[in-house]
């Protein structure tokens, strides 16, 4: 690669970060991978109209055969179909749960950091309460209390994983609320809501974007973990469910576990690469390099 000369800064900091991101090979690799996974999950069901629960061939048909390209599991369900349809559920749960966790985290962290004092102390006690609960155990309790559907699984993951974002947001708000431009904003007569969402949050966003991206990877792993333990939605094919249901047959039909496992691996890797790329692009201290 030719030594990249920084372009004359004529754009906003976000555009500049985007340019930075686009020059980072591993970030690009992550984006391409994620785009592929998304493409398969979104467009796949149109190309390959099938029921992932349907028995299509003899149980444990090995992969790379005419009946089933990626083989069938112990019941004779097609692994490829499962991958495509399961990807939808996995990615959806991952994205929505991450969104939920970030939304809760930012709201609580911003309120605590901005108002400080008693509000801060109260909200931080709540955060600590959620932090000391073993997350997976807590999510299992939530899922078993209600019936395990895609929605309850998503909610459970969102509710147990927001504490990190809340602490990060609070720290950023504590740092930024006494900054001069925030005072200047107050001096022109802006109300608190405007200062929180319109002034401080945009400045606190870089680390939060990174954390939100990584939260997607964590949520996907969480969903897989719950499904593996049999606490996922049994009527909804997902990668975790595929691994979980075929785990006893790992030695006799490795493909039924390996392919969905690889899919999870690739997706989480892609998300992490993107998160790292965003971190480099948005962190002004690393930008000097």
């Amino acid at each position: 690669m030719s030594p990249a000369r920084p372009p004359p800064p004529t754009e906003g900091p976000w555009l500049e970060a985007a340019r930075m991101f686009a020059r980072n090979p591993s970030a690009i690799a992550g984006s391409v991978l994620l785009a592929l996974v998304l493409l398969v999950a979104i467009a796949g069901p149109w190309v390959l109209a099938a029921d992932p629960f349907e028995l299509v061939a003899a149980p444990m048909t090995p992969p790379f055969t005419a009946e089933a390209w990626l083989g069938t599991d112990y019941l004779g369900r097609d692994v490829l179909t499962g991958l495509i349809y399961g990807g939808r559920a996995t990615l959806l749960v991952g994205a929505v749960a991450a969104l939920l966790s970030v939304a809760i985290g930012i709201t609580i962290g911003a309120t605590a950091g901005f108002y400080g004092g008693r509000v801060d102390r109260a909200l931080m006690r709540v955060t600590e309460f959620f932090q000391v609960l073993p997350a997976l155990l807590f999510a299992m309790v939530v899922v078993t209390l209600f019936s395990p559907t895609l929605l309850t699984v998503t909610l459970a993951i969102g509710v147990v994983s927001w504490t990190g974002t809340a602490r990060l947001t609070r720290a950023e708000f504590l740092k930024l609320r006494e900054v001069e431009f925030v005072r200047a904003e107050r001096a022109i007569g802006a109300r608190n809501a405007r200062i929180i969402w319109g002034v401080i949050l945009p400045n606190a966003l870089p680390p939060l974007v990174v954390s939100a991206t990584l939260a997607v990877g964590v949520a996907i792993l969480f969903e897989a973990g719950l499904s593996f333990l049999g606490l996922g939605d049994p009527n909804q094919m997902s990668w975790g469910l595929m691994i979980g249901s075929s785990r006893q047959y790992l030695l006799s039909s490795w493909w039924a576990v390996t392919f969905p496992g690889a899919a999870i691996f690739v997706t989480v890797l892609a998300v992490s690469l993107i998160g790292d790329g965003l971190n480099d692009a948005l962190n002004p201290k690393l930008r000097e390099r």
Binding site: P9, T10, G12, P13, A184, E185, A187, G189, A190, L205
Partner: protein, 344 residues
């Protein structure tokens, strides 16, 4: 020095501050950082507030708009009357209507006073959207106008730039444009040139004077630079350790300072172009430092550093006494024989 104030000296004050007190809660107890500050700002004039770091200048400015970081600070007494309304007790909604609209403020550090993630046009336009109800397009057009008014070249292009693309002087101009966008009655400028080059300082002062002439804005200029005072002030107020110790017209205070502290401040100025042949003449200084809030005791806060300290200075705080023509000083040397001073 401006030859004549824009208004007659007895014009009705725009802003009246009475016995303003601000305290900060600390681990060692409540610290009174403003202790009974009284002053007024008249329409169209420039009031300079002078004093060393930590004397309460900036705190006074912040207190006017209730911008003191709270906790730990709070206004513990006094009134700030603006158009008949006491801003100390006014509702938040009323206060928001005053802030940035009727009274606006520019800060010391142009580097950190602008929001790095928004373009300067968006930031100038914001107070217009808040107070004048303009939509985004109108606000932008007005922002371009304001940038032109504060002397920024190619304002149509600059309006979309971000703070990091501007020099310190330009940023301070942007701050001024923001502050003046709603044509406020009063502009509070808290050391607006401290962070800038000397040449840029002069430009900023020229700009402020020009805008004041055009728009009739009263300016409260906070500074520790006596040169700036000589250049800008109609009236001067000198603060020390949270109190006003001298005030009067610029001529009165600069030509005949009454408080030993004010005299010291003026002596500290190098006499450029004066009759002194000895061009390496040593600069005088005021010995010592401003006492900490905890060392104030009961007497005059300046007594430890004062050449003329009397026994009385250690016992009682001197009141701010009028010594004629609106010139007042808080010193036992003057209070005792104010009449004699006038005769001098």
């Amino acid at each position: 020095m401006n030859a004549a104030p824009a208004q007659a000296p007895d014009a009705k004050p725009l802003l009246e501050v009475q016995d303003l007190r601000v305290e900060f809660r600390t681990r060692r107890g409540a610290a009174l950082v403003l202790n009974g500050v009284d002053f007024e700002i008249r329409p169209g004039e420039t009031l300079c507030v002078v004093g060393e770091s930590g004397c309460g200048k900036s705190m006074t400015a912040l207190a006017l708009l209730r911008l003191i970081p709270s906790p730990p600070g709070r206004i513990s007494g006094g009134r700030v009357l603006f158009q008949g309304e006491d801003l100390v007790t006014a509702s938040d909604a009323t206060l928001r209507q005053v802030r940035g609209n009727r009274i606006s403020m520019i800060f010391q550090e142009p580097m950190t006073s602008l929001n790095p993630v928004f373009s300067v046009g968006e930031q100038i336009g914001e107070s217009l959207r808040l107070h004048a109800g303009l939509d985004a397009r109108q606000a932008r057009a007005r922002a371009v106008e304001m940038l032109r008014a504060v002397g920024i070249p190619a304002p149509e292009r600059r309006v979309d730039e971000y703070p990091h693309q501007l020099s310190g002087g330009m940023r301070q101009r942007v701050m001024i444009a923001m502050a003046l966008a709603c044509r406020p009655d009063i502009l509070i400028a808290d050391e607006p040139t401290t962070a800038l080059d000397v040449t840029v300082q002069a430009q900023i002062f020229d700009l402020l004077r020009e805008l004041q002439r055009d728009k009739g804005t009263a300016i409260m200029l906070i500074t520790h630079d006596m040169g700036a005072v000589a250049e800008m002030a109609d009236r001067v107020m000198v603060m020390y350790a949270g109190r006003v110790i001298e005030r009067g017209s610029a001529r009165q205070v600069l030509d005949a300072p009454q408080h030993p502290y004010t005299q010291g401040l003026i002596e500290c100025l190098p006499a450029l172009g004066s009759s002194q042949h000895d061009d390496r003449a040593e600069l005088t200084e005021i010995a010592g430092v401003v006492p900490s809030i905890w060392e104030l005791g009961q007497g005059c806060a300046f007594r430890e550093r004062c050449r003329h300290a009397l026994p009385r200075c250690a016992a009682e705080v001197p009141p701010l006494v009028d010594i004629g023509g609106g010139h007042a000083a808080a010193c036992w040397l003057r209070a005792g024989d104010a009449a004699a001073e006038q005769a001098r």
